[in-house]
């Protein structure tokens, strides 16, 4: 089985939200409610239990590449389709007590909904704030990486639908090299702040959803230095063991004095 990945490129995205629509339709996801945020054109706001692709609408007081927009008062509008990162060391998968969240043969992270019991521990264990509990259902949901489609040799619905190839899909090696090539190309064309958002240097490890970003990750609500929470297991359990032992010794001393 090939190890697959997404590469999402904001310089090609036109903000049409075809990926959001395709994802909802293919996966049969409930609507989020027709509410206007009132502060931007982004009325989806964030990824959630029923939103597995989310197109961000960034408004920044900066020029876009070498384009002239706004003259001395530069302005750029950047769109980026966010998605579950399918981490190599996934916080949700590590946290899941039931074994509902598993690693597939495509190395994606998949929630088995006949096993999930809605404990909610994955929700607080995702360093990217992706997975969430669907209140009316009680279980946790997130992007499946279109496991059903990949099994049938098809590309995920969002990548299939994207009209500008802003969402690319292929083997992880191909996506990683294409991301680097694209950044080099963009920089040559004046997009000086283009870079690949990559968690490989962190405890989260290799990501199966790569992104090209313009500017710092904070503006996209991406953590600049994510950690998989289980890196803290040792220090937390050590503190707990010491505390419990000292506590019990004090109780024993109180009764023996």
């Amino acid at each position: 089985m090939s190890v697959s990945a997404f590469l999402t490129d904001p310089t090609l995205c036109i903000g049409c939200k075809a990926c959001e629509v395709a994802c909802k339709e293919w996966n049969g996801l409930p609507q989020d409610g027709l509410e206007w945020t009132g502060f931007s054109y982004d009325n989806t706001r964030q990824l959630g239990a029923s939103t597995w692709r989310h197109v961000l609408f960034l408004e920044q007081a900066r020029p876009l590449g070498t384009q002239i927009a706004g003259g001395e008062d530069p302005f750029r509008w950047v769109f980026l389709s966010d998605v579950c990162k399918h981490c190599e060391n996934a916080g949700c998968l590590e946290a899941c007590p039931t074994g509902a969240i598993v690693r597939t043969e495509f190395e994606s992270v998949f929630v088995q909904h006949d096993v999930c019991n809605g404990c909610g521990y994955c929700v607080v264990s995702c360093p990217f704030g992706v997975i969430d509990k669907r209140v009316e259902d009680g279980r946790a949901f997130k992007c499946t990486f279109c496991y059903d489609r990949q099994k049938a040799g098809l590309v995920p619905a969002c990548a299939k639908t994207c009209p500008t190839q802003s969402i690319k899909f292929g083997t992880i090696e191909e996506m990683e090299s294409r991301a680097q090539e694209r950044v080099t190309e963009l920089r040559a064309r004046g997009y000086s702040d283009a870079h690949v958002y990559d968690a490989r240097g962190t405890s989260v490890g290799r990501s199966h959803a790569l992104f090209i970003l313009l500017g710092e990750p904070e503006a996209y609500n991406f953590p600049p230095a994510p950690d998989v929470p289980t890196v803290h297991l040792r220090s937390a359990w050590t503190a707990a063991t010491v505390a419990a032992a000292v506590g019990f010794l004090i109780v024993c001393a109180a009764f023996l004095l």
Binding site: S40, Q60, T98, V123, S125, A240
Partner: protein
């Protein structure tokens, strides 16, 4: 009746037109051009994250979970106190009461946990696998085993008091109480690890503080409950003093360190709850124990304060986690080392 032209209002309209023509926007009188044609680009950009929307998802746990943390802690600590009483061989009545507190708590806890699940009928899915890397899995298994052992301990101890098969029941009581104490200490401390090993900044950044806090809070609460049942013995006073001293240290260290990540423990609803809980279980209970040590009422009042403070603190930590998960800017500062 026709409107008379108002020169000042007409002049204002002229001014708005001029401002729009000159600067490209009309921003007077607090008007925010929401819903376009082009929304104000506030929030998006360099330092504010994405429109100040939360990066992390807030904990979805409801009121049952902090109550479970508290009752599970009391039950676990009671089992440890029962073993200490048994080792001392001179507090049989207290040991018996502690075992009953433990078993009642051990039977209430699963109900609270099940009630909190999104799919309560699937509690048994917790027991499909054991994952030591998941504190939730470790906790679920600990609770189930603890409940069983607590029942065995209380039954064996009651049989011992009734004089039924004293030889066998003595051995069973010892084994069950040792097992119960080990599992009980795990039960009262794993919840601290559960919070510490998450992506929520205020929890994970307090992963070394939380276990001591929960251990002191649980043991102090169990001891206080025994005092309220009439066991105003020196041992419960010593345990109560030690627990309140530690709770005071925890409260002071949160205040003195003054870290930005602990903001939700000092501000807003969660901050109030944390401070009230910390004061009740810490300095207030400590003062009562020191200055009213000779009066039964003083000690009972200290016990009530400690239990109320411990329970309040558990809710404070959940609320603080919710506030912390919603604060993307603090997360960026933390990860950038600012």
């Amino acid at each position: 009746m026709t409107e008379q032209p108002n020169p000042s209002r007409e002049a204002r309209l002229e001014a708005i037109r001029e401002e729009a023509a000159r600067t490209g926007r009309a921003a007077g009188a607090g008007v925010v051009p929401a819903n376009g044609p082009m929304p104000a680009a506030t929030g998006a950009g360099t330092d504010g994250g994405y429109y100040n929307l939360p990066l992390l998802k807030a904990p979805v746990w409801t009121w049952e979970v902090p109550l479970y943390f508290f009752i599970g802690g009391v039950a676990g600590a009671s089992e440890a106190i029962a073993l200490a009483a048994r080792i001392s061989t001179r507090a049989a009545a207290l040991e018996r009461a502690a075992l009953w507190i433990a078993v009642i708590g051990a039977l209430v806890c699963p109900l609270l946990l099940i009630a909190d699940l999104g799919r309560p009928g699937r509690f048994l899915n917790m027991l499909r696998v054991f994952k030591w890397r998941s504190p939730m899995s470790v906790g679920a298994w600990t609770l189930v085993k603890f409940s069983g052992v607590a029942i065995v301990a209380v039954v064996a101890n009651e049989a011992l008091h009734a004089g039924i098969a004293p030889g066998l029941m003595g051995v069973v009581t010892w084994v069950a109480e040792i097992g119960g104490a080990v599992l009980g200490l795990l039960l009262l401390s794993y919840t601290a690890v559960l919070l510490g090993v998450t992506a929520v900044p205020v929890w994970s950044q307090n992963r070394r503080l939380l276990p001591g806090h929960f251990v002191a809070s649980s043991i102090g609460s169990a001891s206080s409950m025994l005092e309220l049942l009439g066991f105003l013995v020196p041992a419960t006073q010593i345990v109560g003093l030690a627990a309140s001293v530690w709770e005071t240290i925890v409260g002071i260290s949160i205040e003195v360190r003054g870290r930005a990540v602990d903001d939700s423990l000092r501000r807003g609803r969660s901050g109030w709850a944390a401070r009230i809980g910390g004061t009740l279980a810490g300095p207030l209970a400590l003062g009562l124990r020191i200055f009213e040590s000779s009066s039964a009422e003083g000690r009972e009042f200290a016990a009530v304060c400690f239990v109320a403070g411990a329970l309040t603190s558990r809710y404070a930590w959940l609320w603080a986690g919710r506030a912390s998960a919603g604060n993307a800017r603090a997360l960026f500062d933390l990860q950038r080392g600012r």
